[in-house]
């Protein structure tokens, strides 16, 4: 009797899963006694990539989890992808923010179960660090990423949070700066200190995300967030506390600051660059976004494959597809965040030259917009998030959530 090796593999795999399942049921019951084990992964070894990708094949389908409003309504890049590769994509904008997404998928990843998605987009924050440290991400096989190698801009190949793009490649990059309604403020906003101006009492929006607000507190006291120490955090927190106690802050916002700004509930607020650009385009509003003279932060949303993905080969092909200049251009034209593909600029300029009417105006604004293609002077003012160890994270959160929790 001959045995089909694939069948055998399948059987051993499912048996292993069944054992694991029993193990977890047991762990659940024994929890009261023994605690919960950490899942800290060993640093990736060189043959991990090979080991993971060996024998993996294309399945012709993939599930993609992304943030809201992060692709045009027609999903053009996905249609192009299906046309080019025959792979169909189920695309869902299910990620509200990093912490909630992490909270949702972590238990499934810990149990070794599929999260239902093969490709997801996560920012380079605390959650990204946790995902890598817990070994929840697939090490990328760069031989499958030719477009990335050819077209990704220099800085995007040496991100400090993932050197060598072991686990991730950027989807889009954005800035955290100040947005304001010039009609309400009555003057140009140029400095972080404007957020502390008593003239704007009750009309200033700050973000509730501990990293975002912490960074701005540090800019206000003249500290580079990436190089900050726990003492700096306390100084920054004191400055933020003063802003709160004086009643200058209206509220600590999640992503709803943009509505508050367009409704006039706040006049100036911490903001993400692309949001303001999109709001102006869709609502015809005249909000402004500024990189304050003290500095602003730059963050990167990254594509990655969860360890339990069912269709990793299809997912990595999708990743690489976003690095075709025409696809990157299409994406940037809609989302108006910084694209990691510099060559997209010429494609957009060419599109603008071809377009007519309102579209032309809209498209020709993009290649010159500092929000999509920041100048070197802008880049010089941009700072990165500080990476935090779990112990540091606890202290950091305690310091800044004390303010936002009110």
């Amino acid at each position: 009797m001959t045995t089909d090796p694939a069948l055998l593999r399948g059987m051993t795999r499912s048996r292993r899963d069944a054992l694991r399942l029993f193990g977890f049921a047991g762990a659940g019951l024994g929890l009261a006694a023994c605690g919960v084990k950490g899942q800290k992964a060993a640093p990736p070894k060189r043959n991990d990539v090979q080991k993971y990708w060996a024998g993996k094949t294309k399945h012709g389908h993939l599930n993609f989890a992304n943030w809201t409003l992060y692709m045009d309504k027609a999903r053009t890049p996905l249609k192009e992808f299906t046309k080019a590769t025959g792979i169909t994509v189920t695309y869902r904008e299910v990620i509200p923010d990093d912490p909630q997404w992490f909270g949702k998928i972590a238990p499934q990843l810990q149990a070794g179960q599929s999260i239902g998605y093969d490709l997801m987009v996560v920012t380079n924050g605390l959650e990204f660090t946790k995902l890598t440290e817990l070994g929840y991400l697939v090490p990328l096989d760069h031989s499958k990423l030719p477009n990335f190698a050819k077209n990704a801009g220099g800085p995007y190949k040496q991100e400090s949070f993932d050197p060598g793009n072991v686990y991730s490649v950027p989807y889009a990059t954005g800035l955290t700066g100040i947005a304001y309604d010039p009609k309400k403020t009555g003057r140009e906003i140029t400095s972080i200190q404007d957020l502390w101006d008593p003239k704007f009492k009750g009309k200033v929006g700050m973000m509730s995300d501990p990293q975002e607000i912490g960074n701005f507190g540090m800019f206000a006291v003249g500290v580079d967030p990436e190089k900050s120490t726990p003492d700096d955090w306390k100084k920054a927190a004191a400055k933020l506390q003063e802003q709160k106690d004086k009643g200058i802050v209206r509220k600590y916002y999640e992503n709803d600051y943009i509505d508050a700004l367009s409704r006039g509930d706040v006049w100036l607020t911490m903001a993400w660059s692309g949001d303001i650009f999109q709001q102006n385009l869709s609502e015809g509003s005249n909000l402004k976004f500024v990189i304050p003279q003290e500095g602003a932060t730059i963050w990167t949303d990254n594509m990655m494959i969860p360890k339990t993905a069912d269709n990793p080969v299809d997912a990595i092909m999708m990743m690489d597809f976003f690095y075709r200049p025409d696809i990157a251009a299409n994406l940037a034209e809609f989302i108006n965040y910084v694209t990691p593909v510099p060559a997209a600029k010429e494609v957009i300029a060419a599109d603008a030259a071809k377009a007519t009417g309102a579209d032309k105006k809209k498209l020709s604004a993009i290649p010159t917009s500092p929000l999509v293609f920041p100048s070197d002077a802008d880049y010089a003012k941009l700072r990165h998030y500080r990476s935090l160890t779990p112990a540091e994270e606890k202290d950091y959160n305690a310091v800044f959530q004390h303010i936002t929790a009110g």
Binding site: A32, G38, A106
Partner: protein
């Protein structure tokens, strides 16, 4: 023999359901509340009672505020719900069900959506406050959203039906001939209400309080959407500790603290009200 087993078989599905989905998670959470650690390095059960003491001392403000908002919103619910339920029960006539349905109609729309719609309605320069401000009736910096008042008002609005329905059920059961009897015995309308109808409706009020005060005190949506910088409730803290910080022990400890406070509060309240059997009333 078989007959003796029947009651146990009947309780089996519900009992198992509760055991698996309520008792086990509770035990797990209780053990979490005594652990130490973080999500990367793991949590160890070290009987870390400081989770409780530190949690209470760090978040005392939010705990007190939640209970205060809970009391205020519940009281507002009673004041609004009682007359409405009374009117429907005694003056509703054949249209009673229609009126009840109208009461419930807004609740067919998602809870979060309804709360968000307040933000538009009551925006600083919105359709209500904008005209009043330009007419000079309100100072320019007046605002409703991002205040404690907005949070309590939102809580009241969102939990009102949970007060109306039990009070209505209690009042509906009051036999109108009892009121007539009271009047035959020379009670005025006010006397008849105070001495006959109101006491008979108290179990409904009690059930209503249970069904509003507990969820209101633990609510976090209203404070998120309608609150400002100093209106955070304990529900927000717990949600944040769970989902943002992955600090399960502290979150679990705070949850159990809140649960203990609410249980003690409810039993004291039952005592004070003189309700004989809390469970009997609560299950009506």
């Amino acid at each position: 023999m078989r007959r003796r087993l029947v009651p146990y078989l009947l309780i089996l599905p519900g009992g198992l359901w509760l055991a698996i989905f309520f008792v086990v998670p509770m035990v797990v959470m209780l053990s979490f509340s005594l652990m130490e650690g973080d999500v990367v390095n793991g949590f160890a059960l070290t009987w870390h009672w400081q989770n409780y003491t530190e949690g209470i001392s760090t978040y005392a403000d939010q705990l007190v505020r939640s209970l205060l908002y809970g009391v205020l919103a519940t009281a507002a619910c009673i004041l609004l719900a009682y007359p409405a339920a009374y009117w429907i029960a005694f003056r509703g006539g054949v249209r009673k069900t229609t009126y009840l349905f109208l009461m419930l109609l807004p609740f067919f729309v998602s809870f979060v959506l309804r709360t968000f719609s307040w933000k538009f309605l009551l925006a600083d320069d919105g359709i209500v406050l904008g005209p009043l401000k330009s007419a000079g009736l309100l100072p320019q910096d007046f605002h409703v959203i991002a205040t404690g008042f907005a949070v309590v008002a939102g809580l009241t609005y969102n939990y009102l039906p949970f007060m109306v329905l039990p009070i209505y059920v209690a009042l509906e059961r009051v036999d109108p001939t009892m009121v007539e009897a009271a009047q035959d015995l020379y009670a005025g309308r006010a006397q008849a209400f105070l001495r006959v109808v109101f006491p008979l409706s108290l179990p409904g009020v009690f059930a209503g309080v249970l069904m509003t005060f507990v969820p209101v005190s633990a609510d976090y949506v209203n404070a998120t959407v309608l609150g400002g910088t100093n209106n955070t409730m304990i529900g927000n803290i717990i949600q944040n500790l769970y989902l943002v910080n992955s600090d399960y022990p502290e979150a679990a400890a705070l949850s159990f603290t809140l649960m203990a406070i609410l249980l003690v509060g409810i039993f004291l309240y039952a005592r004070a009200l003189g309700t004989e059997d809390v469970l009997e009333v609560a299950t009506r």
